[in-house]
């Protein structure tokens, strides 16, 4: 996430990741204030076994795009409503990536935070059976409600 103030929304992502049996790590880093840390994180993530990145950021929300620029892992962006523009700025910044460097842009705020985890589970479920089963079980529950 771009700032520790994003934590309340990101907590929704983490709860779903746990439900989906996805191992995760959480870091605070800013594409503008700590760009070297973002570069190091993105370029070494694959070697540490990370398979999907989720970036939550508000305002100019460059985090997802910069992570995507430095690696070829799938990046999921959660635009946050943290400025006077209530997330419109972050939504456009996260979604309007140039061709070839995609960021999968979720909805603004808590819905996006939860869907980021579900989308990550869909990607990881292609390779990890336990995650696929957890996600399919969740979808079955939705249908039965």
């Amino acid at each position: 996430m771009g700032s520790s103030s994003d934590e309340p929304v990101v907590k929704e992502t983490l709860e779903v990741l746990e439900q989906m049996q996805v191992d995760y790590e959480v870091r605070v880093m800013s594409a503008h204030r700590t760009p070297e840390r973002v570069q190091e994180y993105a370029t070494t993530a694959r070697d540490r076994g990370i398979e999907v990145l989720i970036a939550a950021a508000g305002g100019s929300a460059a985090l997802g795009g910069v992570l995507a620029a430095w690696c070829t892992l799938p990046v999921i962006g959660i635009p946050l409503a943290s400025s006077e523009m209530n997330g419109w700025d972050a939504l456009l910044a996260t979604s309007q990536m140039p061709p070839g460097i995609p960021v999968a842009c979720m909805a603004v705020g808590p819905w996006g935070a939860r869907n980021a985890a579900f989308f990550a589970a869909e990607i990881l479920g292609l390779r990890h059976e336990n995650i696929r089963e957890a996600y399919e079980g969740y979808r079955r529950q939705l249908r039965e409600r």
Binding site: R27, E36, E40, T44, D47, G49
Partner: protein, 218 residues
């Protein structure tokens, strides 16, 4: 010049060899024979580790709790990590060991966010699955490569400080800019004329980091 500190885990970041500590406590009667086959060169470290841990009956949480009750990080590890955070300098654990026990000890010692390069595991009803994410290119049977991680940080332009003790650390040490070594690694560095510094705790590495940054008079 920005330093990046990469440290081995068993017998280096950790005071003990945590993997062997777990095998002593939870391993079945065959693990020491398997270790002898590894030491004799009949098995790779990857095979030795997988065979011995697959024979353990204890679950992940039991082993994590045992590590947290019985193992320790070498003094001043957490202080070095905090300093690296302050100066925006990378620090990571580079180990051929297993994620669950490394993470358990880092959490206990107040450094849960230290990046870790290691063997990722998943405990399933059928046994443990192992994932090697920085394996030797074209040689997956050898498991992970510490040298590969060192090269990655050097390519990013960092001055790599490598800290280690064992046989598997040499490929990291010979690629690093500054080496801290003890035990086998120190002997091997001496034998192969790779310059190194001895260390007792992470305060030694902290001082060198400050030297590199020009923050001390030496």
């Amino acid at each position: 010049m920005v330093p990046a500190i990469l440290t081995d885990f068993d017998d280096t970041a950790a005071v003990q060899n945590v993997a062997e500590m777990l095998l002593h406590k939870f391993g079945d009667g065959t693990w020491q024979d398997v270790r002898e086959r590894f030491r004799a060169g009949e098995l790779t470290l990857k095979d030795y580790q997988e065979i011995t841990f697959n024979n353990i009956q204890a679950d992940r949480d039991t082993m994590r709790a045992y590590v947290q009750d019985n193992a320790n990080l070498r003094p001043r590890f957490a202080e070095l990590w905090e300093y690296c955070q302050e100066i925006n300098s990378p620090m990571a654990v580079v180990s051929l060991g297993l994620d669950f026990y490394i993470q358990a000890l880092l959490e206990k010692e107040g450094a849960p966010d230290v990046p870790v390069y290691c063997v990722k595991t998943r405990f399933t009803p059928e046994g443990i699955n192992y994932y090697y994410h920085y394996a030797y290119p074209g040689q997956p049977e050898r498991g992970n490569s510490k040298g590969l991680v060192v090269e990655r940080y050097r390519q990013l332009g960092y001055h790599v400080i490598y800290v280690g003790d064992g046989r598997s650390d040499f490929e990291g040490a010979e690629r690093a800019d500054t080496v801290f070594a003890h035990s086998f690694l120190a002997e091997e560095c001496r034998r192969q004329q790779v310059p190194f510094r001895p260390f007792t705790d992470f305060g030694d590495i902290l001082e060198t980091t400050k030297e590199l940054l020009g923050l001390t008079g030496t």
